[in-house]
């Protein structure tokens, strides 16, 4: 941003300065600034999307054209998908991954809601220390916990089951942090009124807090679902023998005798598809839910 670009906004003030509405502010902006915004954001957006486009473009090329660089894959071919379909049990993988991601997201939402409510609605002893206990999980990487947790899951007899991939991930600091902020944004009078009414803390949570957090809970839930859907290392460790979720199946196309790029891209494309659709459908709500919380 150079001073030259900024100078005009100083000099020419075509509308009354005190007009506070959005429309007036935009009018006052020289068109050049908006153009600059479009160019920068457009280029950045394209750079972000190119790999994703290339993933689907490669997956739709005929096997003999796999090395082609034409921007549009022509003739279109679903042969890679057919090959992937034959190599791995896609419906089963989709169902398993869906069950895992849903359970993990719901669990994280619930533990996060309870903890966030506790932190936001009360002042209590050891509050800060306990909050730190949640945050400090970011200091403990997966590589530190994997061996002891693997041993415990083996004692519980849930290795190589979807349950084993779910149970250790039912609480996440991100949900606690965000829901604490969300609950805080609810006017305190509302919680006080519920207490005056003689409601218990538990019923206040479900009749006052949750209905007020609808969009925020949905947005966070989707985000947690996406994270769980994309999770790789924990399932990789727990489901060693069965490889029963999508992210693990990708590896069957990467072999010592070379990578089968076509089917690999097809499976990767399918692994991303549900999440992309979910996001495209709910984009407005996800962003709004996130933004309205004023995560800060």
């Amino acid at each position: 941003m150079t001073p030259e670009l900024l100078a005009p906004s100083h000099v020419e003030v075509p509308v009354p300065v005190h007009a506070p509405s959005d429309g007036a502010v935009v009018l006052r902006e020289p068109r050049l600034r908006a153009v600059l915004g479009h160019v920068v954001l457009g280029l950045l957006g394209i750079a972000c999307v190119v790999p994703l486009y290339w993933l689907y473009a490669t997956s739709l090329r005929a096997p003999e054209n796999i090395y082609s660089l034409t921007p549009f894959p022509w003739p279109l071919s679903v042969e890679n998908y057919a090959e992937a379909w034959g190599a791995v049990n896609l419906p089963r993988l989709l169902v398993n991954t869906f069950v895992m991601a849903t359970m993990v997201a719901l669990g994280q939402l619930l533990t996060g809601l309870l903890a966030g409510y506790a932190f936001a609605a009360w002042t209590f002893r050891f509050q800060n220390a306990l909050y730190l206990v949640f945050i400090a999980t970011w200091l403990v990487p997966f590589q530190v916990t994997m061996v002891p947790n693997y041993a415990l899951l083996s004692e519980l007899g849930v290795l190589n089951t979807i349950a084993g991939a779910i149970i250790p991930n039912l609480c996440t600091a991100l949900a606690v942090i965000m829901l604490r902020t969300h609950v805080r944004s609810i006017p305190r009078e509302l919680l006080e009124a519920a207490r005056m009414d003689g409601r218990t803390a538990w019923s206040t949570l479900w009749t006052v807090v949750v209905p007020n957090l609808g969009p925020a809970l949905a947005a966070l839930g989707v985000l947690l679902f996406i994270n769980a859907w994309n999770e790789y290392f924990w399932p990789a460790l727990v489901l060693q023998r069965t490889n029963d979720v999508l992210q693990l199946a990708l590896h069957s196309f990467i072999g010592p005798e070379g990578t089968q790029w076509g089917p690999l891209m097809a499976t990767a494309g399918l692994a991303c598809l549900p999440v992309l659709i979910l996001y495209l459908v709910l984009q407005r709500r996800i962003v709004d839910g996130f933004v309205r919380s004023g995560l800060r």
């Binding site: 957006g45 994703l52 009360w122 061996v147 002891p148 290392f233």
Partner: protein, 316 residues
């Protein structure tokens, strides 16, 4: 967002004031219990799945054990730590992790702030579309992302070399491999960071900027002296997250594509831990390294939090 907050001003104190002295102890316990009960499920999960393993890691760090259930673990005192600090890999991995963190900061701070500020100018439908495009990589599973980037960076048939007209073997040369890891990881986390910044910007009252422009401030002045300081809690949250999680974010890529190579150029601290445990089956050394990283990161994070608490600027 501040991580260590000063307790909120005391709420309407309710019935706990002088009467509390005479109420029986079980009444007082029952009255104080709710927040702890609400915290219990989350805490229990963390104790079992995060802190119990951490404690066993502490124990393991004083033992020599090859992870086989049949072979006994031997107590070796501080030997693992002595070996760790003598290993050249250890310092090198820390240095590379620092490079990774610094390399990711543009993706988690600079670009998201630029996008957030520019999106305010563009507005409307177009802004939504651009934001959706920037968020998209966040949705791609790390392994799928790693696969498509490996494909695009292929030295012979890859899109990147064909477009740039180069013949660089990106993932097999030490300098470019680290760069590739930074860019690909940055591509992945950019969307999340942008979302967080957008949320932070939305939380800033636009009346401040309006007031500033009434006072004759230019846009840049308003941004520099009002918006950025008000955004500082968000920025400190993102820096803390980058600091603590950068090595984790890059792990799927390093593990599936570069395997820490070429000649260790992409071996960061968490890959080193993985390698000690499952590459050389040296559980004691891995645990010692894990513990050192935990304490080191804890210390750095604490300093960062204290520092931002002193520097940030609160809108109250």
């Amino acid at each position: 967002m501040t991580l260590l907050e000063v307790p909120a001003p005391p709420r309407a104190a309710g019935p706990t004031t002088p009467a509390a002295v005479t109420t029986p102890w079980w009444r007082r316990v029952a009255r104080a219990a709710p927040p702890y009960l609400f915290l219990a499920p989350g805490l229990a999960l963390l104790v079992v799945w995060t802190y119990r393993p951490l404690v066993s890691t502490v124990r393991l760090s004083f033992l020599s054990w090859n992870l086989l259930p049949t072979s006994p673990a031997r107590s070796v005192g501080l030997d693992n730590f002595a070996r760790l600090f003598a290993l050249p890999d250890f310092g090198a991995a820390i240095g590379r992790t620092a490079v990774l963190i610094l390399g990711l900061l543009p993706f988690t701070l600079v670009v998201p702030v630029a996008v957030g500020l520019l999106a305010r100018r563009v507005r409307g439908r177009a802004a939504t579309v651009y934001q959706a495009m920037v968020f998209a990589p966040m949705l791609v599973a790390p392994v799928a992302g790693a696969a498509v980037w490996q494909w695009m960076l292929d030295p012979r048939a890859g899109l990147v070399n064909r477009v740039l007209g180069t013949t660089t073997n990106w993932l097999q040369e030490p300098a470019s491999a680290q760069l590739a890891v930074i860019v690909v990881t940055g591509w992945h986390v950019l969307g999340f960071a942008t979302l967080v910044v957008a949320a932070g910007l939305a939380g800033i009252d636009s009346e401040y900027s309006a007031a500033a422009s009434l006072d004759g401030a230019t846009r840049w002045q308003a941004t520099r002296w009002l918006t950025l300081p008000l955004l500082s809690p968000t920025l400190s949250f993102l820096s803390l997250m980058t600091l603590l999680l950068a090595a984790q974010w890059s792990f799927p890529l390093v593990n599936t594509v570069t395997h820490g190579g070429p000649s260790g150029a992409t071996t960061n601290i968490y890959f080193l831990l993985w390698d000690y445990a499952f590459g050389s089956f040296d559980a004691g050394l891995g645990a010692a390294a894990g513990l050192v990283f935990f304490l080191g990161f804890g210390l750095v994070a604490l300093v960062l939090v204290r520092l931002t608490e002193r520097l940030s600027f609160h809108d109250s």
